[in-house]
Symmetry: D2
Subunit: 369 residues, 4 copies
């Protein structure tokens, strides 16, 4: 693990590309058949195209070629995190922007994957394989194909979540790239533990979570309603795959969305997510959560399992090699909130359990385990 990087990320003089939204990710999986069972048979994503090395999947309401690419490989990893940009010229803008930053950049007029045209991939300043494209084949939008909908249908890709050691450093870089912060988690000393930022008017297109990075924490898909998420759990139970449920379902504090975290056969984490809120106004109020607020990650105060804090997917450089990790030197959210050295509260300032006269116990987990 390399030493922490603290140098600021340069701001290019040229304008950033106009990013529309998070669009797709490319995952390296070690057993394509097992992954197909998980994503197609269990989760019900729709196959746009596939062969024996790669599967292109899209969600129910998507009209672009894919939201997820599964590629057979030797080690689980993330090969690309892709955003769609507004115009073909925005791909040029992206190339120029990252070149001026000094990043390694690769441009392919025919794209890196099926169904996508002119694309630029970069090793971004945080070490992630970011991809920008505009040209894309359209696929049938299935949004009214209620003859095909499953009880736990995934209807849209919603966001990425990236692990990086220095959240403020990454946040500034992404804000300059055009993202706007909607919520974050801090402590009284000013440490930032995580930040959420968007382009498409929802709570996020991507988020930064503090930790050893670069790693991808998860990819999130949206459902229409909350019961769809419960059905995914019920189905995993029926298939005796409940151990692929890592955390939830629950209500997030941050984002206000209803959520569930799953682990795919390679351990890649998938979030299923629904019902956050509109954030498209430029003065959308930013919400800052106290890291010790026990409802920040789960509004119901249910505990976050340690694996959710510690595990994430490694990412590849443009040669396909795994990027080395840089260690987080700031405080760890897990350590400051659970276990011997951490603390959390349900009601700020409520130490003696007398709030409203009801049974008041502060941190729920501490009472349970």
């Amino acid at each position: 693990m390399s030493a922490p990087v603290t140098d600021p990320i340069p701001t290019p003089s040229c304008p950033p590309p106009d990013i529309l939204r998070c669009a797709s990710a490319e995952l390296i999986v070690t057993d394509l058949a097992a992954s197909r069972r998980f994503y197609v048979e269990v989760l019900g994503l729709h196959v746009t195209e596939e062969d024996d090395q790669v599967i292109y999947l899209r969600s129910f309401e998507e009209f672009i070629h894919h939201n997820l690419v599964l590629r057979q490989g030797d080690e689980p990893a993330v090969a690309a995190i892709s955003y769609r940009v507004r115009t073909p010229e925005d791909v040029d803008a992206a190339e120029a922007y990252y070149r001026e930053m000094g990043c390694r950049v690769e441009r392919r007029a025919d794209g890196f994957v099926r169904g996508v045209g002119d694309t630029v991939r970069v090793e971004d300043p945080l070490g992630f394989p970011y991809e920008f494209f505009h040209e894309v084949e359209h696929a049938e939008r299935l949004h009214m194909r209620y003859d095909l909908i499953s009880a736990g249908e995934l209807v849209r890709i919603d966001h990425f979540n990236q692990v990086t050691p220095d959240v403020p450093r990454g946040r500034t870089y992404l804000e300059e790239l055009g993202f706007r912060v909607t919520e974050d988690i801090k402590d009284e000393a000013g440490t930032t533990y995580a930040a959420w930022m968007h382009r498409k008017g929802t709570v996020h297109d991507t988020a930064l979570t503090g930790g050893d990075g670069p790693r991808l924490h998860h990819i999130a898909f949206a459902t229409h309603e909350k019961h769809n998420i419960l059905q995914i759990c019920d189905k995993l139970g029926a298939l005796r795959l409940s151990d692929q449920i890592e955390r939830g379902p629950g209500r997030h504090g941050v984002s206000n969305a209803f959520y569930l975290y799953l682990r795919d056969p390679d351990g890649h984490r998938i979030e299923v997510y629904t019902q956050d809120y509109y954030t498209g106004d430029p003065d959308n109020p930013v919400i800052t959560w106290d890291v010790h607020d026990n409802q920040r990650r789960d509004w119901w105060g249910n505990p976050v399992v340690p694996s959710w804090y510690t595990d994430a997917s490694r990412v590849l450089d443009l040669d396909g090699a795994v990027q080395p990790l840089t260690q987080r030197t700031d405080s760890s959210e897990m350590e400051v909130t659970i276990g011997a050295d951490g603390f959390s509260y349900t009601r700020e300032g409520d130490e003696d359990g007398t709030y409203r006269g009801e049974a008041s116990k502060g941190f729920k987990l501490g009472n349970q385990l």
Copy 2:
């Protein structure tokens, strides 16, 4: 704590009363105002009558006077567990039945509480204050008062759950009283950990959970849909009372219902429950779960918090004194399933994690904590 009781419960020669359903419970609470906030303001039960010592509450679809009585007292306890019987004569039958058993019995023609007529209360063979009545005042059934319905509305009382040391002993007694078992939890050695039994054609009107008893584990109310239960959690979060969520929400293995467990200001446990299944046929298939099946208590494999196993409400005798506890001598479900001496599986016989080629880890909790 008294020594374990192992003598069999005598079977009366006279017929048991024809029990319709679980109908209400009387709880002793130590701060009536705090309890009112919880049951009326937070959970939205409807007040039929109240004064400064007692509150009578009913659920949205109920037409009898109450499903829950809250009475101010010095120590949290359960004063009565009440069943409605089919006819006035069934109250006579109940009195005769328990007298023949040698139980202490008290009959009051005017009832023990407001709104209920001729009633018999007994100290039953398991030590519980069972009550049987038929005559009852009708209250407005609110079932179409959608102007009054809340987003997390409790619509029916569903069942009780009682803690008793010797489950088979209690089960036989209740079967003779007319209950029919729908599901139970056992191990390969034949130990019974819990049993569910009904009168009204649902999975249960009451259940027996193995443990030091007599204690009342919980009282359950039903909602119409699953989102109603999620809303109760969301509301507790908004009120910064999330530490009153003890376990869930989740899908039960046993009963197949969607559930949530709350603790009231005195620690009395309330379950919110929806969507079990019809059991009214006499040959309704009984489901026996293996105590080591990690999906038996939560179909999604989410861990059961220890307090759920250890805590329960003490019950009163007919003089209002707390009944002494008898210790369970059979194995403890908590001990055989979690912690150093316990084990559970997600897939029976799946020890090496190769099931279906997916990531397979057996017991989820062990991997998390």
Copy 3:
């Protein structure tokens, strides 16, 4: 059409059978493949057994062999309306009961259909082919097979609805057979238009609707939640079969259930139904609706289409011949509520539209068409 029958139905001296619940129906369909598409591919009922002449279907939570039998025939009709009774002896009781009434009765020790044992079929006093059985093969109860559940899953058979000319005459007969009335529709002159009655503790196992009879108005299946019913509509739209939606979805006044009426390829009517209320107490309050109350059939005041009043399935006698119809002589609910001679109100006594100061128009349909 034969002359109206007004002679009272005799009350047998022997006790009636103890009926558990509505259990299944046998429909004659003219194109078995088309019916299979509707019931299996569109509605998702589960095939227990089938050959080229007959298909046995059950709902998601059912453990008996079937809830619906589709049999190829020349004319659409209803061959049997089946109730399950509590014990084998109750089949004897049913046989004796109907024989004493002077009805034609046929007893078959091996049953009339696959999966069901000793059965009695009768031509009942209202002209319906009622069937009573206890012995039945068990099939896999799918209630936890969330890998098989569809977004619009039918989980239980709920009730029948029968058309008969003289509702009070039929009601008395069914009450003596053990049914209990939960709701009815009358007018100020005492005419009864319909009555709902149950055995299993829901609003009904069968209902009587006034009209030329004997005809079967519909068979109803239950879903878990309301969105499941909406999905059935969405799927029919996607399949361009929306003209099979006859009425709804909506909220019933009577029964308080959320409902939808479909017509199968032969015109047999299927209701999809969810969330009525518990009725198992003997003093369950009976609700009588005024026939002129515009919210009695649809709580939202949406119009009932005329076909819903006029169409129903003919029934067969025990020789397989279509039973002749007897004409209703009482007032027609359709005629007294819609069209030139009918009237309905939204607010009783609100003739001048001044209720609460809001826009008040009395009968909604009259303003729309």
Copy 4:
């Protein structure tokens, strides 16, 4: 009614304002207390401010001062249709844009209503009182106040729908103003009956419906889930106000959203709407519906009541006088689809009812009434 206007609308040389979203509307109501009952007590909108002449309301997730202004007046009308623009300078841009068009324009640095700053109001080329503002007071965003949420909560303002005689003329004007069309309804002869267009990445911020105009057809609010809309109907039934339900609930063909149309005490139409789809990509596929497709307005083929086609709210000019109407000369959607001269189909080309072998009847309404 004035003669039809056919002159093209001029395109200004200056850039249009950057519109964020539909933000609010100002309605003139004739009985403020009655309107308050409808919008606050029945629908549950939240009062930001009020006095005896005006009430400012916002939805559950809104952070700007209001989404709806109710103002006491003599005649029901619409005083303003308001969009929020991205920056203060966009208000200047709006003023210049409409001045160059030759429209009457009024600019007020302190706004026209409470809670909103610098604003421009215009009489737009279609005769509507459009308003553009950026500066606005923030109110508490209630999005996590689950202690305040009702079972039928309105969480966002979603869109307007405007009636105008010449849809293509209006569409061009709005496209130049920056709106993008997502769906429309046409016939084989090229007549456009309606068009939907957006700014915020949903199916619409406003729509144009062909008819005598300018009139406002409706204002739409979003709920989280479909059951919330059903609850609004149930509540109106409980309050015996079901005659305020004009159409639905149902699934739209156009927009794919689940919908309900209500009429307020003055006849202003409110839509409740949920679950359309993301449209923010510039190449979002436009869907054109055939006016004869019976599933275009209701995916389930349920009939559109005539009042929905004929009624709409008159709009005011900047002096507060009612704008005169211009008559539609193109075909009427109502006339070409229902009644003696209209026709619709469920399955295009399916005239003989043989589609798939199922009962096939073409236009459902024709069979019902």
